[in-house]
């Protein structure tokens, strides 16, 4: 902040309201920033424009009917959200997933993670003023959406996991297609990295801005890649494994720098790790007989009690808390959205940055308003 203390003369500070309809806010939300010229002194996020009573609506639906609603929580991470809902229901029912379903869920989750991160990188490209990055990323993302279509018939709202398994087994050509896309993607991602990391302008835009310390991360409750870019080595997939993640070998990228560039690097590396996970999951699937079950029959009613489940969403630590009263629909279903918590850190992230950094810094929490406002 020493740079900011201009003792010689007084300048007027002003509040600038960015949003709810502003090119940098990917979705409907408002960021109010107090600026001194180009410097940011204060920032205040305002969310809630997209509140549609998701949690309340769930209380009037049967457990099975909530799965497609969970898809709608986030347009680019629908698979992980419906997975999370099924997971909390399974924990309440105390059922063990068939092995085949576990691997299929891992594959679906990682496809979802890659396409979500690609959407993020595309948005980062436009935020930094490079439409090329945007279009190249969306081109690659399209292949993963096509995989979604092959697996479950839908591009975005996948509606694939079920309580006690998955809706359908993968088609016979899915492994071939998936391997082709993943192999292609690992090359294509390097093309995109050549466009970003090899460009001094791009790196300079992200390096050295919006530092967060581990303490700040802990106090603000930041999770996901934003947290791992600040040196906190924590990933639910590894530290509290679900589905088949404990049987797979992968690395959790962690960087100590804590600036926007580290958060960017963590996400890029996560995409490579996801490719590796998909590959390993298919290898493991080959050892499981094709006729083995992919879905269990489960009760429609969930016994009375409270249950909590969490999952590593592409954006962070997603959590659901279920209170059931023994009937066919939940008494209460609480969602802990990673973005809702992360966006509260915008003051800590933006202080001392310049106005031009706002899109780049806020892109690093990868806003998704569907899950934030619920």
């Amino acid at each position: 902040m020493s740079e900011l203390s201009r003792t010689g003369y007084q300048t007027d500070k002003m509040w600038v309201t960015m949003g709810p309809q502003h090119p940098f806010s990917h979705g409907l939300w408002t960021l109010r920033v107090k600026v001194d010229g180009e410097y940011i002194l204060d920032a205040e996020p305002e969310v809630g424009y997209l509140h549609r009573g998701w949690e309340k609506e769930c209380e009037n639906r049967t457990y099975a009917k909530i799965i497609p609603m969970a898809d709608r929580l986030c347009y680019s991470a629908s698979m992980t959200w419906s997975h999370l809902y099924c997971k909390v229901a399974e924990e309440a029912l105390d059922v063990e997933l068939p092995e085949r379903a576990q691997y299929l869920r891992v594959i679906a989750d990682e496809i979802c993670r890659i396409q979500s991160h690609l959407m993020w990188l595309a948005a980062l490209g436009t935020d930094l003023g490079s439409l090329t990055i945007f279009l190249w990323c969306l081109r690659e993302r399209e292949f993963f959406l096509d995989l979604n279509v092959r697996l479950c018939g839908q591009r975005l709202t996948t509606n694939y996991p079920r309580i006690g398994g998955v809706r359908n087994d993968m088609p016979y050509y899915f492994e071939r297609d998936c391997m082709r896309v993943v192999t292609r993607f690992e090359k294509a991602l390097w093309d995109i990295i050549n466009l970003t990391d090899e460009s001094t302008v791009f790196v300079n835009r992200l390096k050295g801005i919006s530092y967060l310390t581990r303490k700040q991360v802990a106090n603000l409750g930041i999770t996901g890649p934003a947290m791992r870019g600040c040196g906190v080595d924590y990933d639910i997939r590894r530290d509290d494994p679900y589905a088949a993640y404990d049987k797979l070998d992968f690395e959790v990228p962690v960087l100590k720098e804590g600036d926007a560039y580290a958060r960017y690097m963590v996400r890029i590396e996560e995409m490579f790790q996801s490719c590796e996970l998909i590959r390993q999951a298919f290898n493991a699937l080959q050892k499981i007989p094709k006729t083995s079950p992919y879905r269990l029959k489960v009760s429609r009613n969930i016994p009375e009690g409270t249950h909590m489940a969490r999952i590593e969403d592409p954006r962070g630590d997603a959590m659901m808390y279920l209170v059931s009263d023994g009937t066919g629909s939940p008494y209460r279903l609480k969602v802990r959205s990673p973005v809702f918590v992360n966006v509260s850190a915008s003051k800590a992230m933006l202080e001392g940055c310049r106005v031009a950094d706002i899109p780049a810094v806020m892109a690093m929490i990868d806003m998704c308003l569907g899950e934030t406002d619920r």
Partner: protein, 386 residues
Amino acid sequence: MGYDSILNWVTFDNPVNNAFYPFEVYNVPYDIGAKLWELIGGTLAWLINLLVPGNGVSTWLVSDAVVNALAIILMVIVIFAVGFIINLTMIWQERKVLGRGMDRRGTKIGPLGYFQCVGDGLKTFMKENVVPKDVDKKIYWWALALVIGTGVLAACMIPLSDRWFIMDFHAGILTIYALFALAPFFILGASWAQNNKYSMMAGFRAAELMISYEIPMLLLMTAVILQTGSFNINGIVNAQSEMWFMIPQFLGFITFFICAVAESERAPFDLAEAESELVEGWQTEYAGMKWGLIMLGDYFRGYICCGLIVLLYMGGWLLPGIGGTAVPELVFLAKIFVVFFFFILARLAIPRVRIDQILNAGWKVLMPLSLINLLLVVLMQTGGLI
């Protein structure tokens, strides 16, 4: 003489024979203007003479003074029309190359998508002319007119060849540059008048950026003028008949190129209209056709920058080894499109630079480089190398 046939009225004289011919050398746009007027005015004079034989108006319409006056007006229109078409072509070129680079189609309407820009222009023309309530109306309109006007004026003053020019005078390059460098003041005024925080921030950015890049540009131009010994564009181009200035002044060429991209406010230096944080920059409150004209003015500025690069460093309308060709205008335009292609490549590959970084680069890198270039030119000049 007897004016009995239309051929007596419509005579395509050599315009140089006109007693009022304003130039020292042959000028194509003036020729086109004069011939156009001789056709239109001659036909009119013939028709009037048919109705009222032997009147004075008909002979006045084809007299030297009237032909000259209207030829100058038509010449300006011809030069602007050609500049406009060049601009449309540059926009089309940009959209096509960007489309190719980004794996998409670019423009689609018309042959090879050429008429898309025309369609877009018509679209902005049909939009509602919204003026916000609290703007400072006088500055809001005047600044807009002046930003576009100075840009178009400077662009029209760029000669396409030694026979396609508006005026051939000794401080040509300085005049173009002076008109070109006026823009930041009007942009600042426009941004302040809009009563909008985004516009204001963008206006400050534009002023900072353009003023700090004008200085290295002017220093680089000084080096070229030193080497040529002339402010005249013709003189500068003719001095490059044997060797383009980009060879002895390669450093200056590169620096000038970067400055030119910044001066024309194109990506990656388009922080005055950084749409991701400042909505539409200083043009935020200009709706409809006003915005369309600003866009056109921006491309005119891009055209000026390309033109200056070609004139100062790439031999203008001359080809190395060959010298002048039959159609030097096409040579000049081809060079402009090549330079603009590299502008587009920069836009394609590089994200937007932040304002402090760009100012650092301007004052701490490009400014010393332009001074070094000046020093090198002086040394080479005194050493008799060039």
